[in-house]
């Protein structure tokens, strides 16, 4: 069974934060078309604050997720603070007692994160939200696992599905949040939350793949 160590894997979260910070202006620009235009600003602020607390502290993946989730929940507010905050906190709680993370643990982690989001929000798939990225991504990861694909290949499937889900939000009418007031006028534009969710999942998957390569090399 392929797996990577939880200990010291907190740097994966730093690479997630880097991608969000790099895309600050892009996320705000997308958001500005149908929302307030502050998505990138608020996300970069939260992920940046968390990165400062994680960097140089040799954290486990669980501890880094917990740090990020707590910062988003206590410092960011808006809608994205609680939604991503609860997702990362759930990730942390799922893996805090696992010394190593295999595909099954990774799947449980993603699913628990999704459950957390659905417990506080009221969006459904198709409402033009981050769920349109997250739900198909988890489904793709799980079916790759069920089909006997190796962990890294399942991570690739997750990224492909996440980006496809993100792109699909262009053809959706917003049903929830501030963009929903636009109705049909929200067509043709990506959802900012779905876009940031795809960035997060891709960085997570790439980070996990790198760890898998390292631990495979160590075994050899």
């Amino acid at each position: 069974m392929q797996h990577f160590d939880n200990a010291s894997a907190g740097d994966i979260v730093l690479s997630v934060a880097d991608r969000i910070i790099e895309n600050r202006a892009y996320l705000s620009e997308i958001d500005g078309k149908i929302g307030d235009g502050d998505h990138g600003v608020n996300m970069a602020k939260g992920f940046g604050m968390a990165a400062e607390r994680i960097r140089g502290n040799d954290m486990s993946l669980a501890a880094a997720f917990d740090t990020l989730g707590t910062v988003l929940m206590t410092e960011i507010g808006g809608s994205m603070g609680p939604l991503y905050g609860v997702m990362f906190t759930q990730f942390a709680e799922t893996i805090e007692n696992s010394s190593s993370i295999d595909a099954k643990t990774f799947s449980t982690m993603l699913t628990n994160g999704l459950d957390g989001i659905q417990a506080i929000g009221s969006a459904k798939v198709g409402d033009k939200t981050l769920l349109d990225t997250l739900v198909p991504a988890i489904d793709a990861f799980d079916s790759a696992n069920a089909g006997g694909k190796p962990f890294p290949d399942a991570l690739d499937a997750l990224v492909v599905a996440a980006e496809k889900g993100r792109d699909g939000t262009k053809d959706l009418v917003a049903k929830i949040g501030r963009a929903s007031r636009l109705g049909e006028r929200s067509l043709g534009v990506l959802d900012a939350g779905a876009t940031s969710c795809a960035l997060i999942l891709k960085a997570l998957a790439l980070g996990a793949k790198q760890k898998l390569q390292l631990s495979a090399a160590a075994v050899r």
Binding site: S28, G32, D36, G37, D38, V41, N42, K45, M73, T74, E75, I76, G77, G78, S79, G81, P82, L83, V86, I120, G121, I176, G177, R178, R181, L182, R185
Partner: protein
Amino acid sequence: MQRFINNPDEVVEDTVKGFVKAHADIVRLGSNPRVIVARHAPVSGKVGVITGGGSGHEPAFIGYTGRNMLDAVAVGELFSSPTAKSFFDAAREADGGKGVVCLYGNYAGDNMNVKMAIKLAAKEGIEIATVVANDDVCSAGPDERDKRRGVAGEIFMWKCAGAKAAEGAGLADVRAIAQTAIDNCRSIGVGLGPCTLPAVGHPNFSIEPGTMEVGIGHHGEPGVRVEPLKPAAEIAREMVKIVLDDHDLAAGTEVAVLVSGLGATPVNELYILNDTIEQEIAGRGLSIHKTYIGNYFTSLEMVGATLTVMALDAELKRLLDVDVDCPARF
């Protein structure tokens, strides 16, 4: 941008600092710097009354902190919900041992953060009851009132609940009067010009010169229609019609009327609107107990105005007439 700001990312911090200095006799900063607390709070044995919301609506929300009004207010970024922790800290600052009512507006972020704050508070043995304001008529149809946004009617809700709590009522009764107050409110906004979040740097929507957006929301959420700009009397008639057609009020009902500017509309124009508003309301056989005109609940520098009508019964009328001492005049 022609704005009085220092750093666009620190607009809220700088606003709060100046606010606390100006009104140090009435409010103080909480131990969480995103919470404004009334000097008198917490009052032992009194139900705490709190709210919270995004900044940029001043004097709402912070300006209604004070005696017989709000005990504490959670402060969010511009147009963005406060954190769950700030709502929770506001409840903690307001808790006098009898529980806390959190009276806030119906927005996705606020709903989620308050929900999480309730959980945090429960762990510390603080009970939070909530009322979600949904007075904005144009934000959803009459069959979907639970989807409507909360706007200036929130001030009437705070006033009635604050006065009720000050009389020593219990949590259930304070919650109930807040619910009755907001159920009795209907509001409508008309936008003539957009507003700009300083950190974004450009207007968040556009209104073509010579047009107006009927039913606009407090953050520029689109209204129900865009029309050519008309004389004030015609706009006022349209506002009254939308509000009262949604509000099944018997002739002879007493009402309170609130006309608020959205930030960049001169106050004299609010009086121009009110001249027709009062005439139209009277024309429907309603009697006006009290009228409030001014910048009570704004949206940065949006050009426009909102009208709120609250139907009064004997108790709401009595509570509305209780004196308050808060930074905003009310």
